[in-house]
Subunit: 611 residues, 2 copies
């Protein structure tokens, strides 16, 4: 690995060296990803010295310039056009600087039971293992790691390799009143895997060694999979049998099938292949009352469909270990096109018409004008904000097509499947797109999107390194409420910070579409004022959640609940269902050992009305 | 109404006259349908005297001959080819003959509360109202009515007109410990609406006056509907707005949206439009703990999707009153074609290839060779069993195409949607069908199917009138287990009855298809030996359920559970989930007033191992 030139990156050079000295096959995933930032330790955005150019380094490319990003940040994150003149540094603490709470003593026989169930290398009690299993990857999580704000930590990290081990562990934990928190890829950004209860011995159950595809049935087009498998490993294994799950969330590279199931994940191509609950046939869940199994079948039409009691339960009812998933043939064709629309409204109008036509693409992403600019600015090629497409094209759009260049909206539209189906759907959609003023950019933006689709969180680390922050909020919203919500949220967010004299920036995109609504995804940024002070981020997030709820949006479309969204759950699912959930929880997990204080507000929190 | 000539039909002539004298708009549905048989009082199959010809009478056609049906019955329902020489009569009792148990006294304030909530004409305590709300339309139900076997009956039939009325009623019933059993169309064949608990005052809640489409939103493509609406009324109302639900079960004419939701219904076109749970966005459920609401949104991705706690609960957790459903444009094209395959295996092979191609029809029905013959024999035109298609076609198939005429398999394959989509899908499917030896019959069989698709239960009434019975069992089964299950069930059923010297007949069809399996639907018949003895039917049903479970099939695909399938539920959903369900039930309905003793075995039944 070569890094020519870097400022403070998200982990110390020494630590990185130490980690990369492991033979790859003996390294657990938590040792390969950043402890205080996003993704692969070998990939980060940084500034080249002495030029000050912003660049990206990856395992294969070192210091590739991102020529427009810095200018974009400095000109966009402003108050009335007034921003900073240059980036400020705000380095993270190192692992050595962090102080973890002392581990609690394992109660009763639990330590002996752990030794009986697991081999020594499956049980980790060292600082680095504990540190890397406290948080997920939310803004709050990263900031707390960077400033050393750690109030609780798991006492032990356990890495199971089979369903049977998890089953034994959960029963042992139930007997000993030990907390079990499942840890998949750790990419969650709502606090789903953080230990909150400080009173009890806590296990973080890192599922990532349970990474085998157990079987593929090409007749039924199903596969049985250990749920600790990461996205890329899963697809690689399935491709060997000529099939694909087709689930591709933003977190794909660093999240697991189990995480997707437990949080009701949704992927880029879910418009075609379905959300994770549609792909899922059955699974095993290890609970304190024993393993709950589901029958493997095409449809559960006799009585309640119990899979939905576990899907979305985020480890609060037990640990999913193995799942049977629907798969589909690796698509014969996969074509992704870029389009520019005269406005966000034009693009939404085209989307609605495609939906009404019943002939729909595999993916429709629509970036609002602000995110359109961001999208071009973060490209690793020439093209500043004001030059995000060639002068000739710009001139054509502006003068011949009468585009208002401040309203230009980029859309990436994808088609997957058998070639003849792709051609049929594409033709129908292209007709609708043309009628709505879309200007085709060909497949180049689609290729760029495909290559860079997982990279946005690396920009967040770069912002945190430079005294800024960025967070996100997403929702499911009806077509009717989409524009009112979009307008109000964008205006309110900026006003909130400007009123306090703090620069602010916000954009949005549509990431998933349905016949009766879309997923609207906001990205918002501001400047850090005091690293010890969490209020600015929490205020931004709360503001966005309240506006979303006001417009009838879901508290989350696919990020889940954790504890970040729990305060809104009584309003979102209604109090009656919160009460039903609590009884289900009491039945399955009477001692509340399964990821306590997540998903729903506790009764105490509810009474305190903490939001 | 003219009936030229009829033997014992399913209701007495006098009674029919009385009913048809009501002005249609003031007649409740339960007064328009047969009390002891299927469907419209004005539609039945009967024998013309003195010719003995079997004919069908409908509100528009009187005594139209079904020239092949009688011969089919006499030659197929046999032991080693030995059957009856003519039909035997076995008339039903009349309403007057039936003795109902005396009504129980309403406890506490309940009678006063009923009067406060409802207008007098919404509360019925007369014999006919009570009699028509005891049973559904299972074979057991009809036989018990025909022989007067009535051990329990609701004490009152209540016909609510609004959500608010149901809400008040359920709370009043909870206070007074009164049982509430929802009654939709009453088409259920698993005992779902029968009062079993004889100890408590019982309300049958006839939902059919709650029959309004409250709104249609053509932008979101959703409609809010009172769930007591019957299939034809629902589609007629939706068509006024240019949209359709597209849910078309066999019971369509005599079942309600609420029944579909409560039993996880599936329709003929569900391969395209989804099963009822896929169409359903949200609904209100009146429970003893208050009304449980669901948010209206494109996706429930934050936490558990609680709609699945109510879907399939068959009134055991509360009463669904209003639902928001996805709708779609009334299809521009709807084309249904008939095909003959050389064998059932050929047809299944074509189905699997269409599924693998990912370009699939709206409907694929595949009749096995026995049901193929039944299908042609029940047509109201010329064509005996041995002549079910023209001699020329038969010769062509037999000699040129080498079809074994005993193995010929009929399939009806449908395509709905925008015309260009229909054409695209059709072309792809037709190519696969041709490769699998299918012989196209054009649209005529499709038209016949569409016209006659709801008529099979009328044959059941005719058989019951003539000392025979017919019952059904359906399941979801994988492609791998489909043929083994089909073979074993058919063989075992016939052997079981033949061993006792009783004639028996069985056929099957595939009614719904999925990427990982199908709905396999058996129809089986035998002769009644003693009308007082329920054992023969119960044995047949039990035999079929056991074989289905042995092959990994679901205990039901879309008929639901009621009490007929409850004994198998612990095996089907596994004991752990039965326990979870019981806790959910205790939470929502602590006094067990909501349709008690349905869906799951009681703990006592489980300990007695009653199956």
């Amino acid at each position: 690995m070569q890094v020519k030139d870097s400022t403070t990156s998200t982990s110390s050079t020494e630590e990185r060296k130490e980690l990369t000295s492991y033979p790859q096959e003996n390294v657990d995933y938590y040792q390969k990803i950043k402890w205080n930032g996003w993704g692969d330790t070998r990939k980060f955005i940084h500034t080249l010295q002495p030029s000050g150019t912003v660049a990206i380094t990856t395992p294969t490319v070192s210091g590739q310039p991102l020529p427009s990003l810095k200018k974009f940040i400095l000109t966009e994150l402003t108050i009335n056009g007034q921003g900073q003149t240059d980036l400020e540094n705000s380095p993270s603490l190192t692992v050595e600087d962090i102080k973890l709470p002392l581990p609690r003593a394992a109660p009763g026989d639990f330590a002996r039971e752990l030794r009986a169930i697991f081999k020594p290398n499956q049980v980790k009690e060292d600082k680095f293992a504990r540190l890397t299993h406290i948080y997920g990857k939310s803004l709050r999580d990263l900031i707390r790691l960077r400033i050393g704000l750690v109030e609780n930590a798991p006492d032990v990290v356990v890495l199971p390799e089979s369903h049977e081990e998890v089953e034994k562990l959960v029963l042992a934990a139930h007997r000993a009143n030990v907390i079990i928190i499942p840890y998949g890829g750790g990419s969650n950004i709502v606090g789903a895997c953080e230990p909150i209860d400080q009173t009890r011995y806590t296990v973080s159950l890192d599922m990532r060694r349970m990474n085998k595809v157990l079987w593929v049935d090409r007749r039924e087009m199903t596969a049985c999979i250990q749920v600790g498998i990461m996205g890329p490993d899963l697809e690689r294994e399935l491709h060997k049998s000529g099939v694909s799950l087709g689930h591709d969330p933003d977190s794909f590279e660093f999240s697991t099938l189990g995480g997707w199931l437990a949080t009701c994940s949704s992927g880029h191509q879910s418009d075609k292949y379905g959300d994770i609950e549609d792909m899922c046939v059955s699974f095993k869940t290890c609970t304190p009352m024993g393993t709950l199994e589901l029958r493997n079948g095409a449809r559960a039409g006799a009585g309640l469909n119990f899979k939905h009691v576990i899907l979305g339960s985020e480890g609060t009812l037990g640990i999913i270990t193995e799942a049977v998933m629907k798969v589909h043939p690796v698509p014969q064709a996969a074509e992704y096109y870029g389009f520019l629309f005269p406005s966000f409204n034009h693009a939404i109008s085209a989307l609605e018409q495609m939906r009404r036509s019943e002939i729909i693409p595999t993916m429709v992403r629509i970036y609002d004008p602000d995110e359109t600019r961001l999208s071009f600015a973060s490209k690793p090629s020439k093209g500043a904000v004001s030059e995000f497409f060639s002068a000739a094209v710009k001139k054509y759009l502006q003068y011949i097509r009468s585009f208002d260049m401040t309203q230009v909206t980029l859309s990436i539209i994808g088609f997957e499947g058998p070639k003849k189906q792709v051609d049929f759907v594409k033709k129908s959609c292209f007709d609708i797109l043309a009628k709505n003023g879309a200007f085709g950019l060909g497949t180049a933006p689609g290729k760029t999107w495909a290559e860079k689709r997982y990279d946005l969180p690396y920009i967040r680390d770069f912002l945190l390194d430079h005294n800024m922050w960025v967070d996100v909020a997403e929702t499911t919203v009806s077509y009717t409420s989409l524009i009112p919500l979009w307008k109000e949220a964008k205006k309110a967010f900026v006003q909130h910070y400007h009123a306090k004299g703090i620069p602010a920036w916000i954009c949005a995109h549509i990431s998933h579409t349905y016949s009766n609504g879309v997923c609207l995804y906001f990205i918002f940024a501001s400047r850090q004022n005091d690293e010890k002070e969490m209020t600015p981020y929490i205020e931004g997030k709360r503001l966005m959640c309240d506006i979303i709820m006001k417009h009838g949006g879901a508290i989350s479309h696919h990020h889940g609940v954790g504890y970040e969204h729990a305060p809104w759950m009584s309003r979102y699912v209604t109090q009656g269902w919160v009460n039903v959930y609590r009884k289900i929880k009491e039945t399955i997990d009477p001692k509340n050992i399964c990821n306590p204080r997540k998903l729903m507000p506790t009764i105490e929190e509810e009474q305190g009305k903490e939001n």
